[in-house]
Amino acid sequence: MSATEVLRTPHPLDFDPYKVGHGEGGGHDYVTGHGEGGPASKRVIVGYGFWLFLLSDIILFSCLFASHAVLQTATAGGPTGPQLFDPMSVALETACLLISSFLCGLSAVAAGVRNQLWTQVFLFFTGIFGLAFLLLEVRDFTSLVARGASPQVSAFWSSFFAVVGCHGCHVTVGLLWLGTMMAQVYFKGFRPNVMRRLVCFNLFWHMLDLIWVALFTIVYLIGEGR
């Protein structure tokens, strides 16, 4: 058999034995996998990638939550959480974050209809409430330290300040990002890349709110219940 004859006989691989759901390989060659139509759009790619980043951030927070759970009782004879937590302050902080998230959502709506003024207004007040949250938290921290519950006192307080502080750092970075986005929207308008970044910012801000809900549940409420 010459080479060309060998090559011209139907090749067993012609039917592709690896098609999903077609064990015998017969039938049509239309495979119902993703990527059928080629690369996804930029909007999808950016959003997907940012979601992956948020998931990785959740894992970061999970480690801090886990360490706080492990160190719940490690107060080394010093003050405990329930003794010193101020539930009113926590409630106020929660309200600030929830309101700022709502306003952020409104800014997304305004951006969706390309309204410069209202986008800026809602973004601005998102930032104000975020800042209020931060100031309340700083006040909380200083009051705790003044009452003898600094992170250097025991492992429990170390983990408390780390997990709540990490969230606060994320909010701070978020506010910095917010300011930058406001400037970008103002100077560049609602270009596609600016819109993609606004979507990412929105995701980030709402995720911070979600983390806060988990945080005050695990740190304040469950800790309180103990």
Binding site: H11, P12, L13, P17
Partner: protein, 312 residues
């Protein structure tokens, strides 16, 4: 199932060639005359070594034929071999898949059983069943920078870098650390266990016969780590009583709080010595973090080129 380590060794060595087996044989042969973990001198070590060799044997059943097959197939199907049959469409075989998945699964199930039973029987916290008439000897172990402290609470004596025990008697170790993590390990007597500050671990060991057994720390603990070896001296029951009495009557140092603070200071390559009197509540105080932990190098003074005190 082989009944002793020696049997296991012979059985495995007779299974044939295989790089891994040759290694194990060679090591075992050398281990036979030089005191490694494959030449255990106590029941715990013997049980652990038996499991190790059994596991090697079980896995060799797959590993050796696999390596041989890889080499044979790699050689036979080389492109210059015209006698080999070229089968470019041999890309899937359901039957082969089933075999290829099920053989490792079966071996793992077997090993899993071995793991489950062995992990429970040989858990360091589980006591050794003993036929000896005497109750187990209690020894408290504290790892320091960079030596081992052994306290005999019932005899109220202590020793550093050497632990004398009666042979053929279970020894119940309680372990903690004054500083950083270490691992208490006597290769010929059996398993190792970590020592950690503020926590207490336990270990049961026994030596079958009198002799000197090398012990070391198996967790790096700082610049003096290499000097953290000690000797387990197993002696006859009478000799042990004599040693206890002699230690109590010598004019040596006393292990009270001050003696302990002296010992806390960094030192390396410490020659073995004993304390004629040891405070039996000392160990509990160390575990409960009622005593300061060991100082580090130049506490408070940081900078490049920090050296530990007292070590070369």
């Amino acid at each position: 199932m082989p009944k002793s380590v020696a049997d296991a060794r012979d059985k495995i060595c007779s299974l044939g060639v295989g790089r891994a087996l040759v290694v194990v044989c060679a090591a075992a042969a050398l281990g036979g005359c030089s005191g490694g973990i494959l030449q255990p001198q106590g029941p715990v070590g013997a049980a652990g070594a038996k499991i190790l060799l059994n596991a090697v044997g079980i896995m060799s059943v797959i590993v050796v034929p696999t390596i041989v097959a890889l080499l044979v197939i790699g050689f036979w199907f080389r492109a210059s071999n015209t006698r080999a049959r070229y089968q470019p469409s041999f890309v899937y075989s359901g039957r082969l898949e089933i075999i290829v998945w099920s053989i490792p699964i079966l071996v793992i199930m077997f090993l899993g059983g071995l793991t489950w039973i062995g992990s429970h029987q040989l858990d360091p916290f589980v006591p050794i069943a003993s036929n000896a008439k005497d109750p187990p000897l209690e020894v408290q172990v504290v790892s320091l920078d960079w030596k081992w402290l052994f306290i005999y609470p019932q005899q109220r004596i202590a020793s550093v870098n050497e632990v004398v025990v009666p042979a053929d008697t279970p020894v119940h170790f309680f372990l903690t650390s004054a500083t950083v993590m270490n691992q208490f390990f006597v290769p010929q007597l059996g398993s190792m266990i970590a020592t950690m500050h503020g926590m207490q671990t336990q270990l049961w060991l026994a030596a079958d016969h009198p002799g000197d057994y090398y012990g070391l720390s198996a967790q790096f603990s700082g610049d003096g780590f290499s000097g953290m070896h000690f000797t387990v001296r197993a002696v006859t029951h009478d000799d042990f009583q004599h040693w206890v009495a002699a230690t109590q009557q010598q004019s040596g140092p006393v292990l009270d709080r001050n003696g302990y603070f002296d010992l806390l200071r960094e030192s390396c390559n410490v020659q073995p010595f004993t304390y004629r009197n040891a405070d039996p509540s000392l160990f509990a105080a160390v575990v409960r973090d009622q005593l300061p932990s060991g100082p580090g190098p130049y506490v408070g003074r940081a900078g490049p080129g920090v050296r530990p005190i007292g070590c070369g």
